[in-house]
Symmetry: C2
Subunit: 135 residues, 2 copies
Amino acid sequence: MDFVNELRKRGNRITNAREVVCKILETSGHEHFTVEELHKLALKKDKSIDLATVYRTLELLENINLIEHSHQAHGSGLYFLKEAYSNIHIVCESCDDIADLDQATSKKVNKLIKNKTDFKEITNHFVYTGLCKKC
Amino acid sequence: MDFVNELRKRGNRITNAREVVCKILETSGHEHFTVEELHKLALKKDKSIDLATVYRTLELLENINLIEHSHQAHGSGLYFLKEAYSNIHIVCESCDDIADLDQATSKKVNKLIKNKTDFKEITNHFVYTGLCKKC
DNA sequence: TTTACTGCAAACGCTTTGCACCCAC
DNA sequence: GTGGGTGCAAAGCGTTTGCAGTAAA
């Protein structure tokens, strides 16, 4: 998956800020990022990149379905690569560890909820919170 | 359940702001409130009650386990009476309708997640988002 | 050359906090 | 009388926006 190429295909301009952010997302090996983390990493490559630009780039990538974002109870939003995204993520309240649920289980959870309510679709944009075994 | 009495038992002072907020929570028949809703209702009974006081009162009531609050993707926090609280709530993205999952299903969902991760507890403080059948 | 994109700064919405006053105990 | 609680105003936080300048096409 080449994020920059996807942008080019869509007719978006390839700016340095976009190249830097895309490269971090694709090559850092992380599955999830807070906006500040991402911004901090971007600043290492180009110290003029603004936080607003990071937000705008993430919004763009989310619109193309390359990434997805969730909200946390405290602190900033969490961005996930779409390929690694499995619908449900759990953050440990104590150590901030993140576990990702496999797609099958995520689907099972959503089906269970749909069956018990009059909702036809679950578009859950949240991370769960919990306590992992270590904590 | 008498919220005011609970406060008295704990040695908290019974002020007018607290009486007003407690009465709204207990007698309005709603199961959930946004902070602004609650504040607006409180102002009808005493137009000097401050938003900050509403927040402080809600925090107090949450500490005593009489209410619970969740976060929404957009807009303010959502407060629930503890007795009506069933762990999982879904807000329709389109019409803002809220559905509450029954406790048994909520437990089932949480158990499913626990079995598939190394989390020992789910302390999920979020509302789900989705689309209800009407929308 | 054109205009999409940028950095900057300011504004946003929700929530929390500092502080001096006040009133429940 | 005392200190817990209040209203008020300001600050906090993550995020969004307006704008004039810049650089990708």
